[in-house]
């Protein structure tokens, strides 16, 4: 009875919210939990309850898993909009549950916020948990990687099948005491693997005995092939290994299977391997998994591409407060061919909270922007001087740096007359909207 009421309230709240042009994916969960705090304890869950968590890549991994489930005719629901905290997940579950409390589909798939899931999983458990990585990410809310590692550890139960990225020592360490099933995935050495030139990697010391780890190679950050100098902690051989990686041509191998990756970002190797590994552990037919990934590929979020007076302008989001994601966007730009101009800037460090820390700028390897194919770097936004400072310290030639004081009056003219090549902007959400508005006035809309 109470459960039916919670489900009805949830649906009404979401519908009303949508009527008022709000997202309508969180508010229902909020009200359902208000009237029935333990509603999630009393749902009859399906055979597969899959969670995907980690500091980055969980959204893409979840999306690809959803696509594979879809192509395998497994019915599922997932938080497509990325509402990954407790209210959003509650709303997702209740929207797919009959009034008698039975979840209606074969699978429940959730991208889970690594912090909020601690509270969520007090109410129910997962059959499968994918852990992508634990890296520096939004420190004002996530403190630091070891803190997140301890939170994830607190929710692990032996009846969960863990599917984890063992290139990350913090993730691998979580599985050592796990008595339940575990499946490991990882990435072999690639041509971009290297030692980072900043001393900012986490997990340089063994999470088990505290002695220094040595790395045979890093892909980025602390993800790579590591070994403790004292104890026997070392990156194990993954059951699913991505190898023979050709980022430019977007092909990789996982074990013996040739796989297409959806974009030429390095992280797409990881999320594809994660989704592939999970699909295999679910026991799906290999031909069908490969068909879903290779023949009938899922289209990643539409790229934001504009035609700016004959030049391509691609808008990437600025991955503030996550130095490794930010660096991957830089690497993506660097690997693109031809002369290019980059636009950087943000008004706030975060969209989720008001704290504005700028420390993370110093954990990003901006030095790599000293590249002959970069014509200019244009700096905008409220923290433009902080970015300028960072770029100056990176010893980027002064004549390559352009500072925009007034976005509205200066940006078009500057880009048109003072810069060359394709444009890549990497700015925060608010600034991106402003840029789009300015482009619209200029008569430039989506390509």
């Amino acid at each position: 009875m109470r459960i039916a009421l919670a489900i009805i309230i949830c649906r009404i709240a979401n519908t009303l919210s949508k009527l008022f042009k709000k997202e309508g994916t969180v508010i229902g969960g909020y009200w359902a939990l208000k009237i029935y705090p333990n509603v999630l304890n009393n749902i009859k869950y399906p055979k597969y309850v899959i969670g995907v968590t980690g500091s980055s890549g969980k959204g893409s991994t979840t999306e690809l898993i959803a696509h594979i489930l879809n192509k395998n005719n497994i019915t599922y629901a997932y938080n497509k909009n990325g509402s990954n905290a407790i209210n959003g997940i509650t709303s997702l579950i209740l929207s797919n549950t009959s009034l008698n409390g039975k979840y209606k589909k074969q699978a429940l798939l959730m991208e889970l916020d690594e912090k909020h899931m601690v509270h969520l999983l007090e109410h129910f458990t997962l059959t499968h948990l994918v852990i992508t990585n634990i890296t520096r990410d939004q420190p004002p809310r996530n403190a630091h990687p070891e803190y997140i590692q301890s939170l994830i550890k607190s929710i692990l139960k032996d009846n969960m099948h863990l599917v984890v990225n063992v290139d990350d020592p913090l993730v691998y360490a979580l599985t050592l005491d796990h008595k339940g099933k575990k499946t490991y995935y990882g990435m072999d050495k690639i041509k971009y693997s290297k030692e980072t030139n900043l001393h900012n990697i986490d997990a340089q010391y063994c999470p088990i005995c505290g002695n220094k780890l040595t790395y045979e190679f890093y892909h980025y950050g602390h993800l790579g092939k590591y070994k403790c100098t004292k104890c026997n902690f070392e990156r194990p051989n993954p059951e699913f290994l991505a190898h023979t990686i050709d980022i430019e041509n977007k092909t990789i191998f996982i074990n013996k299977d040739e796989i297409k990756i959806p974009s030429n970002f390095l992280y797409s190797v990881y999320f594809t391997t994660a989704a592939y590994s999970l699909a295999n552990t679910l026991g799906l037919k290999k031909e069908k998994i490969l068909h879903a990934i290779n023949i009938d590929p899922f289209i990643p979020k539409r790229l934001n591409i504009y035609n700016f007076y004959g030049r391509t302008w691609q808008m990437l989001s600025s991955k503030n407060e996550n130095n490794l994601s930010y660096k991957q966007s830089i690497d993506y730009i660097l690997h693109e061919k031809g002369t290019k101009t980059i636009v950087l800037g943000f008004d706030n460090s975060s969209r989720r909270y008001k704290e504005n820390d700028v420390s993370w700028l110093w954990d990003i390897d901006f030095e790599s922007l000293k590249d002959k194919n970069i014509d200019k770097i244009v700096v905008i936004g409220r923290f433009k001087y902080d970015i300028m400072t960072r770029l100056e310290y990176a010893k980027i030639e002064k004549e390559k740096l352009i500072l925009i004081e007034n976005l509205e009056t200066e940006i078009i003219d500057t880009l048109k007359n003072k810069t060359k090549g394709n444009i890549y902007s990497m700015v925060c959400f608010d600034k991106e909207s402003e840029l789009k508005e300015i482009l619209k006035k200029e008569g430039i809309t989506h390509d």
């Binding site: 520096r136 420190p139 004002p140 809310r141 403190a143 630091h144 990687p145 070891e146 803190y147 900043l198 001393h199 900012n200 990697i201 340089q204 010391y205 505290g210 220094k212 704290e355 504005n356 820390d357 700028v358 420390s359 993370w360 700028l361 110093w362 954990d363 409220r382 923290f383 001087y385 902080d386 300028m388 400072t389 100056e392 310290y393």
Partner: protein, 246 residues
């Protein structure tokens, strides 16, 4: 020539704190003073007489204890070197190690270097309201008594400091040693410890120049200090004050 030791660079490195070493180097080099940085860590032999400046940044709670374990053997040398006027710059929880002890989450007392009289308590969930995260996070600013420029920074920590007899800044914005305190940091001779984490010397160019000048003058009293105005760092500092503090 200025020699800097970046202590435990590979473990006390949480929040972009390499920026501090870069700032010191850059500011010395702007004055045409050569600057050498040595990166030292656990199991290296650290000489506490050889360097002009010792810097350590912030670490995780676990990392901090690994460092403490290594640091304890240098206790007397460090004490002597602070007394002799060597420069110590410590950001984030690094300066907790120079106090008496740390009381951990379970209430255990972990002995520290015991050079200064303060001690640290890890913030326990029950000390705070149920819903509150048990870390102190946010923008902080305050005034020190040797510079007429406000100090700005950010905090993100899981400890509070108690029974401190000296301070670095009087708080204008944010919190001090603990939520009720209006004072933050520790200054003694040339020792500066503060919970302000991250690139403190990048974000506070006037503070950096104050120290650069002081250190340079001590080496060469006749040195003519060059003044750089309107640098990006100064503009970033002023813009931040304008947008977030004033």
């Amino acid at each position: 020539m200025i020699k800097i030791a970046h202590l435990y660079y590979d473990i006390m490195n949480l929040y972009g704190e390499n920026g501090n070493i870069r700032a010191l180097k850059e500011h010395f080099e702007r004055q045409s003073i050569k600057c050498e940085i040595h990166f030292l860590t656990i199991n290296d032999k650290i000489d506490f007489e050889k360097y002009d400046i010792y810097y350590m940044g912030m670490g995780t709670e676990k990392g901090q204890l690994l460092v403490l374990n290594d640091l304890m053997k240098y206790k007397e040398e460090i004490k002597k070197s602070i007394e002799n006027g060597k420069y110590y710059f410590l950001t984030g929880n690094a300066y907790e190690l120079f106090g008496k002890h740390i009381i951990d989450f379970e209430g255990n007392k972990i002995e520290c270097l015991n050079i200064f009289p303060y001690y640290t308590k890890r913030i326990n969930k029950k000390d705070f309201m149920e819903d509150c995260d048990f870390r102190i996070v946010g923008t902080t600013s305050g005034n020190c008594n040797f510079l007429d420029k406000e100090i700005i920074g950010f905090q993100n920590r899981g400890g509070t400091i108690h029974e401190s007899d000296k301070y670095f800044i009087k708080i204008n914005h944010g919190v001090g040693y603990e939520p009720k305190s209006l004072y933050e940091g520790y200054l003694y001779k040339n020792f500066l410890g503060t919970y302000l984490l991250g690139p403190l010397f990048i974000r506070n160019p006037y503070l950096t120049d104050y120290y650069i000048k002081k250190i340079t003058k001590e080496k060469d009293n006749t040195y003519k200090f060059k003044v750089f105005k309107n640098t990006s760092e100064i503009k970033a500092y002023e813009t931040f004050l304008e947008n977030f503090i004033n």
